[in-house]
């Protein structure tokens, strides 16, 4: 029984997005109940629609059906967005604005509403959730230096595309930055399948390659040999992979040449 109550509470909180907004939504439904008696037919529609969708979506049966049969809907509790939280909150606020005639009272109303919204919002506030964009490639500055180096290489050699191999950060965003960057494996290899409709099954080799690149300092030679066998055009190492050497090698096995050094990476090309 406690589990059922907890899951209903969580679902209600998720429907609003936070405890605060869900509380505002509940208050809004109560306000709508009174508003519909002022001959506002539209308030009546919204009230019954809100009640219907809330009861339909937030009940033990729906929660268990979604969890068992509709996993896609369960991701981020997407099925709860059909609950009309926003229209109810905003409608009630706008209707009540009508009753505030005096400009001073209107100011108090707006300040009060602002404070209430702020309180409702910061219940889930995490500063780390709002990082700034560093460039129009939407990657970190360190990664962007690598991708710019690879773009320059493509311009110089006039090749159509380039097969590259690097660490997780480089492999994860390469194709987001440029469609000419091909990779040995994608980020779904270590993150898991993001979309059930995209079926990509990796061979055991791919996992082996990924493990090697996760600890490049220990597998430098194996990485280079595998890169040669798989016809990689570019190898990107983290600088610390060569921390044990006095100088950074200018070439690897006579096949790859150091093309560019960035703050964190070494870009080798064929």
């Amino acid at each position: 029984m406690q589990n059922v109550v907890d899951s209903l509470q969580n679902a209600f909180q998720m429907a609003g997005g936070s405890v605060g907004f869900s509380g505002l939504y509940l208050a809004g439904i109560i306000a709508l109940w009174y508003t519909k008696y002022s001959s506002k037919k539209e308030a009546g529609y919204l009230f019954w629609y809100a009640i219907f969708m809330t009861v339909l979506m937030i009940n033990p049966l729906t929660l268990s059906v979604v969890a068992k049969n509709f996993q896609k809907l369960g991701v981020d509790n997407y099925y709860l967005w059909i609950v009309p939280t926003a229209p109810v909150i905003v409608y009630v606020a706008v209707v009540n604005l009508d009753y505030v005639k005096n400009w001073l009272h209107r100011l108090y109303f707006l300040l009060g509403a602002g404070a209430l919204l702020l309180l409702a919002a910061i219940t889930s506030y995490a500063p780390s959730e709002h990082p700034s964009v560093q460039n129009d490639a939407y990657v970190t500055a360190e990664e962007n230096e690598v991708y710019e180096a690879l773009s320059d290489y493509l311009e110089e050699t006039r090749e159509k595309n380039i097969l590259l191999w690097g660490d997780d950060a480089i492999m994860a965003h390469a194709r987001m930055v440029d469609g000419r960057f091909y990779t040995l494996y994608g980020r779904d290899l270590w993150e898991g399948r993001a979309d059930q409709e995209l079926v990509q099954i990796y061979e055991e080799d791919a996992y082996t390659l990924w493990h090697m690149m996760s600890a490049p300092a220990d597998f430098k030679v194996q990485i280079v040999v595998n890169a040669i066998n798989r016809h990689c055009d570019a190898l990107i190492f983290q600088r610390e992979a060569f921390a044990d050497l006095e100088t950074i090698p200018e070439d690897l096995e006579g096949v790859y040449t150091l093309y560019r050094e960035t703050k964190e990476y070494l870009v080798y090309v064929r």
Partner: protein, 322 residues
């Protein structure tokens, strides 16, 4: 271009949307509704071209040119047939709405500033990769977006039905913008504009014969977007941090249009809203998976029809008694 392209898209949608609205409602609808109808038509047209193209392994570039050609023809026909209605809407008549309109513009600018400067939520998303892969390979859903090479296994047909990422690839090609700039900047601004229009329409039916309240309604939604962005897993969060996602298009654009259509049907004023509901259901297939889109919108419509039906029955019973 990041700001010009969404305005251009909506303008084209407005011109194209005027044609069916003239036939269905005899021209009795505002510019907002026409823009939204036009957008839905553009997406449905895109789907009609893409699905056979996917089956025939057609060139993406060829299909884009074909689509652009059809859009151009539709725009020209609409300008010729609906020129009087188009000119009528351009004039801003009501100066009383000037202050709320300015507040709305400022709020929109703040939302855009957030969208442009804060890193989006792309943890489980591969839209930009799909756009790049489509543009580079000139094939549709044949290459793995994560790797670039052709698929060993592929995308299921159910996944291929969602052609919204391909529409973004078309926009990237048409505007010349990078995939990341198109997907993470231009498209969220476009969806924000559409969302404002959709909630404006909803505000009009929720506050009938009121001038300022619909604008206040849209302002309220914008404020909720800005405050809601602090709360993870909130639909307002998605409007600001994941505006390119099909789910956001569904909740921020399609759902308010559906609520608007249901309230209009409840008022018994416009039977053409049945057609609009049908178009919404089809468009939901374009933007997001069937369980998230068609099923949820269908459920919402069933709820709406049940409420409208209950009101009609109560009115008839009341009329019979009196």
């Amino acid at each position: 271009m990041v700001f010009i392209a969404p305005v251009l898209l909506i303008t084209i949608a407005y011109i194209i949307g005027s044609l069916p609205m003239k036939l269905l409602t005899r021209g009795d609808c505002g510019p907002g509704e026409r823009s939204l109808i036009g957008t839905l038509f553009m997406l449905l047209l895109w789907e009609c071209i893409m699905l056979p193209g996917i089956k025939m392994l057609a060139s993406f570039d060829l299909l884009c040119r074909f689509y652009a050609g059809i859009l151009l023809i539709l725009v020209m026909i609409s300008i010729i047939v609906c020129r009087k209605d188009l000119v009528k809407d351009i004039v801003f008549k009501n100066l009383q709405l000037l202050v709320p309109a300015i507040i709305l513009i400022v709020l929109f600018a703040v939302q855009c500033a957030y969208v442009l400067n804060v890193y989006p939520d792309i943890a489980t998303d591969y839209t930009a990769e799909t756009v790049n892969t489509t543009l580079e390979s000139d094939l549709i859903y044949e290459n793995n977006p994560y790797m670039g090479d052709t698929f060993v296994h592929g995308i299921t047909f159910r996944g291929k039905v969602v052609t919204l990422p391909l529409f973004y690839a078309f926009l990237a090609r048409a505007t010349g913008l990078k995939a990341t700039v198109t997907v993470f900047r231009m498209v969220p601004i476009w969806v924000l504009l559409l969302s404002m229009i959709a909630f404006g329409l909803l505000g009009k039916v929720m506050f009938p014969s009121k001038e300022k309240q619909p604008l206040y309604f849209v302002i309220g939604m914008g404020i909720l977007n800005l405050f809601g962005v602090f709360s993870r897993n909130c639909s307002f969060f998605y409007s600001m941090r994941k505006g390119f996602a099909g789910e956001t298009f569904l909740t921020a654009v399609l759902l308010p249009i559906q609520l608007y259509a249901m309230v209009k049907l409840g008022a018994g004023k416009d039977k053409s809203k049945f057609i609009l509901l049908g178009i919404l259901l089809l468009t939901s297939l374009v933007v997001v998976d069937i369980t998230k889109g068609l099923m949820m919108l269908g459920l919402s419509m069933v709820a709406g029809f049940a409420i409208i039906g209950a009101y009609h029955i109560r009115r008839r019973i009341g009329a019979k008694r009196s």
